[in-house]
Subunit: 335 residues, 2 copies
């Protein structure tokens, strides 16, 4: 009986000790938790695009997923399969019906999408926009490349490639705001910072390899001293490279392209395109997720309201660019 009581007593002491230590550990964990940002698996954040199979979205979705992993929440991807306004509105309506914790949207048409975006926000679902804006909507933020700055960075790179002197041309798609901004940033930066360089011609490339090749060929004919070409979109760079090779001037004319499709990366690998501008797509996805998380958890100051007079989050974010050359081109094939 005495032995039994001893064993009994020892067990109680061990039990109390165990509970006490667990509580201690629990407290440490709790104070850590207080100091960490994390959601729950039940929180679902949805990224919505159009032409949803397009290569371009992949790295944005990677950023969005990395944000979800970092914060311990669930992410989902939806999109119109075609370049179709009505289809995107339908997809967005379906997403809203599921009442997710937040929606990151690239708006195929800024005006047509506005009522549906506002419907989500009015229903208390946070919305941010990336890559393509709907400026008159109630969405809380717009994360995208500042195209003027991207053009300016291309100008600085061109100046570096050409030793700060020489004639250069631009191949662009006129009438599209993003391309006009890239052209303006490039031209104005050369004018302001590189007096021994000049833009001698701006030609239409129609976003097409053949048309851009033709445009570049005529430009090189007209300006035998031409030292560089900046193309404001991917097919323009590929076309210019084809033209330079055909004219036997691939060694003399340095080409800077835009975006990181396979043709452009191959041309960088073989040296016929000197550099291309990679947009900060990961940043668009990652910081969209962060912003939605902060809205969902009420972590912003000021708190969001339904009017446009309050900015609970940075309303506009330049997600930046990275210049891709032979040195780092390998990193971009991986994606």
């Amino acid at each position: 009986m005495k032995k039994m009581m001893l064993v009994y007593g020892a067990l109680i002491v061990a039990f109390l000790l165990y509970v006490f230590m667990y509580r201690l550990e629990d407290k440490r964990t709790s104070s850590w938790e207080e100091g960490g940002l994390h959601g729950s698996i039940g929180e679902s954040y949805v990224m919505v695009t159009f032409q949803s199979g397009m290569e371009y979205w992949k790295n944005i979705l990677k950023g969005f997923e990395d944000g979800g992993d970092a914060l311990g929440v669930t992410v989902d991807y939806r999109g119109a399969t075609q370049y179709d306004v009505k289809e995107q509105i339908t997809v967005l309506e379906q997403v809203i019906a599921k009442r997710p914790a937040g929606i990151a949207l690239s708006a195929i048409d800024s005006k047509a999408l506005t009522p549906t975006i506002n419907k989500a926000v009015d229903a208390g679902i946070p919305v941010v926009l990336f890559d393509a804006d709907a400026p008159d909507s109630k969405a809380y933020s717009f994360l995208a490349t500042n195209n003027y700055n991207a053009g300016a960075a291309a100008a600085d790179k061109m100046a570096e490639l050409l030793g700060r002197e020489g004639e250069v041309g631009i191949i662009t798609q006129t009438g599209q705001q993003n391309h006009d901004d890239r052209t303006a940033g490039f031209r104005e930066t050369l004018e302001k910072s590189y007096p021994a360089m000049s833009v001698v011609e701006i030609r239409e490339g129609k976003g097409d390899i053949i048309a851009s090749k033709e445009a570049a060929a005529r430009m090189m004919e007209k300006f035998p001293e031409l030292k560089g070409i900046f193309a404001t979109e991917a097919n323009g760079g590929a076309g210019a490279a084809d033209a330079a090779i055909a004219a036997g001037r691939a060694e003399d004319v340095r080409i800077i392209g835009f975006d990181t499709n396979k043709v452009t990366l191959d041309r960088i690998s073989d040296g016929t395109i000197s550099a291309t501008i990679a947009q900060g797509t990961w940043n668009m996805g990652y910081w969209s997720l962060q912003y939605l998380f902060h809205l969902h958890h009420g972590l912003t100051v000021p708190a969001p309201t339904l009017g446009n007079d309050v900015a609970p989050l940075p309303p506009r974010v330049d997600t930046g660019i990275t210049i891709v050359t032979q040195e780092n081109v390998k990193d971009y094939y991986a994606k």
Copy 2:
């Protein structure tokens, strides 16, 4: 003896149940933690300013501290006590010597601070800038008010106040980029969006209440139909309010000011200033801390390099504005 054994058995079962449930809870907590962003108390992030006692920094520091609390890291505040370039360089050198996890700096002079900023970055200490930029430095991001957009928001508010028609004037401090941008945003937005409104005059207020009062008095004399005044800085708004009261036109001339110093808030409370533009100062501090945390923990894509060809973070962030009126003025006194 049998009774004893029963009690004993019941205790053991209770104990095992307790342990089992604790473990379950622990597991849930652990998987939560894996999915959370948190640093350690040993990580120290420093915010560096000039005229460090200035009211304006308080809410930026609050955002920086809230970021530190959210991520479980330590923050510190340092600054030159005076408006003194050399003193700020010395303070920054002292901060660098302690090798903090990151530095958020408002640069008193963009050129003079650049070598010291670059020294920090070259030593592997992440630096971001807020409110005042050093665009040629190696700092990774700049978080500040887009002053053009702030002026545009003031124009939209003025249009709302005046029913989209009438003559308005501007009182500004010419020759300062931030004020010129606010003026341009205000004027161009009225021109573009409100055909029945016009800016009839832009006058110099010298950032001074007396000079601004004088400027506003002359403007009201010259334009008896004047319906509104936008002041691009705090003393301009206060001066314009004094002039409107003195002329007996406080009821007819609507004034929009800038920033949230006490005089402006008092004037909003008594109705002589209709609205003022509060900068997104909390956003500057909070997202600076987040950016430094992401750099310190290597969470960015792409990873940072020492050149300017890579953007591991959004290089430029518009931290937004909030329009303060009688409705929400109380929130701004608290700070």
